[in-house]
């Protein structure tokens, strides 16, 4: 793999024929201190697919997303979005951060959070008009949170908070959706609601990338997987890249053999 990487390094995206990929990353390394959290990772997200980023705790899944978006600085590597520089294509990306990343006692209501998704359209001084509100309401409706518009966000359950975050992303009307652990600590109803929305996005031709931790649902929810443990372990369609071997390679001793057996049985 390192050889492959060396070969790719410095080769322009156009020559690679990656121009159509919603998100292509080459040789990305991110480090907090002296120990890389993500080391020399390549990923080519398939357009119109639902991709799961999978790996053990601390494998750099969230860091990979954050570095791809420029939220944390990368030490090296190149990120292209729809064959273009990230900054030029930012408007086409919607990001759903981890729920734990914000203070839920912040004085803001559900509707205000969703309206943040429209900030580009509103600009600095633009008035919030009826059509903006209507669009925010529509997005809340899609995640089943219409009845909660005027609630302070701290009064919501964890699952409801996650749905509000998703509604904010929907309001952007983006083409590429990056979600960081959207199913972590949410109730079953929320998980169902979120996956329904994501599948609808896919039907509409959008691209969805999800940092995911529940191996049992990977085959149900996703068509592509990206396995990472600091560096890339495997990438491809679920049936090829999500196997007992790749899981063993990604998780090592951390995944009980029984679990792997169970998953490989499920995979047939």
């Amino acid at each position: 793999m390192t050889l492959e990487l060396a070969a790719n390094h410095g080769v322009s995206v156009q020559e690679n024929g990656l121009g159509s990929s919603p998100l292509a990353i080459r040789g990305l390394t991110v480090s907090y201190g002296q120990k890389p959290a993500v080391f020399s990772v390549d990923i080519t997200v398939q357009p119109g697919a639902m991709t799961a980023i999978i790996g053990p705790n601390g494998a750099g899944k969230s860091t990979l997303l954050k570095a791809a978006l420029g939220i944390v600085p990368a030490l090296s590597g190149q990120v292209t979005v729809y064959g273009d520089a990230l900054e030029k294509q930012r408007a086409r990306i919607a990001y759903v951060p981890q729920r734990a990343s914000v203070d839920w006692d912040f004085p803001t209501r559900v509707i205000d959070v969703v309206l943040m998704g429209l900030s580009r359209e509103l600009g600095l001084l633009g008035r919030i008009r009826g059509r903006h509100r209507a669009r925010a309401m529509d997005c809340l409706n899609r995640v089943g949170m219409r009845d909660f518009v005027d609630r302070q966000i701290g009064q919501l359950s964890g699952g409801q908070q996650q749905r509000v975050f998703l509604a904010r992303a929907l309001a952007q009307g983006a083409d590429l959706y990056l979600l960081d652990e959207p199913f972590a600590g949410v109730d079953a109803a929320t998980e169902k609601a979120i996956i329904a929305v994501l599948k609808a996005l896919k039907e509409a031709g959008k691209t969805v990338v999800v940092v995911h931790h529940d191996l049992a649902t990977v085959t149900d929810y996703f068509d592509h997987v990206f396995l990472i443990n600091t560096s890339k372990v495997a990438e491809g369609p679920v049936e090829q890249a999500f196997t007992a071997e790749t899981l063993q390679a990604a998780y090592g001793g951390r995944l009980a053999t029984a679990q792997i057996d169970q998953i490989s049985r499920a995979l047939g």
């Binding site: 951060p97 990343s101 004085p107 580009r120 302070q152």
Partner: protein, 401 residues
Amino acid sequence: MFWDALTLQLGYNASLVAIGAALLGVSAGVTGTFLFLRKRALVSDAISHATLPGVCLAFMLLVAFGGDGRNLLGLLAGSALSAWVGLLCMNWLTHHTRLAEDAAIGAVLSVFFGFGIVLLTVIQTMGVGRQAGLEGFLLGSTAGMLWADALVIALGGAATLVLVMILRRPMTMVAFDPEYAAARGLPVHRIDLAMMGLVMAVTVVGLKIVGLILIVALLIIPAVTARFWTERSDRVVLLAGIAGGVSGYVGAALSASAPNLPTGPIIVLVSFALFALSLLLAPVRGVLAAVLRHLRFQRRVHIRQGLLALAQGQKIYEPLTLRLLKRAGLARADGVATEAGKARAAKALRDEKRWEIVRADQAHEATAALYHGLRDIETVLTRDQIAEIDRQIGGPQGVMA
């Protein structure tokens, strides 16, 4: 006297101070809110203390070049410059060393303030008599406020307000969810710097009235006060502006109505009074409301537990439970249920059984999660669903409420 001061009939200087203080209060309240929302309230303390060396150096320069050492514009320019340097130091310390922000604040605050005090002492020993009033920048001094000074404050405050209004959306987004803001392409770092720059502007403008030691109070207390009354950030900003403005105006009037009352500290005390009132009386977040809420909740728990005990023929030992049941007319003093009590008790027990069925049933998983012992089952299930559960329980159906 106080009324005269409030209606601006206490002379030119007092009126000037009152209006200036009100304007300063509004802009400090509004600007400080964003600092408070970003959870960086103490940054303003470092910024304000870092103004002192600038004030002193500016004075020395003015005197050295033969000007008037008390030229307010010159002194404010000096203070802004050194506050900005302090701000950059703090920023650098937090971003490029392993120091956390609180340590960086402490370091910058004390070093700059210490240096400022040294300069102040040097100026005093220069003994030229022209330094009169420079200590006024520590705690504010409004005695000799001029029309030009008031104008500087008014214009500075207004300019800050306009900038805050322009930047309010990005500043709110960064305060609530900096990662999302960064993902949207907002320059988080620069927005933070702009926010602190605005705080610096307010600080500099407010030096003359409240002084650098107390300006932090005027930046933070109104925001904290406003937070008690609303769950919306735009309203926190608005209310903080009002609270700041009222504090400034009333405080200035109070201090003018009696001899030897210092303006800055009185303004801070007035704003504290508003804070204390809010802390006690605010409808949802206030202390009294919280106590009442807790008592109501406790009452519900005791009555529910008492009813379940009555229904199962258990003796009630807890005096509070008994007292509450008696007051509600559900039990007699000896702990025997009244007719009304019997009916409520039977209903409580049946509801508990209904919940048991719901919680044991996989199909009701989402509903079962809502159980906490006090929730009325009618609020989560339809009449038909409850009837269906009752069929499973069997027995008399007469206790349906």
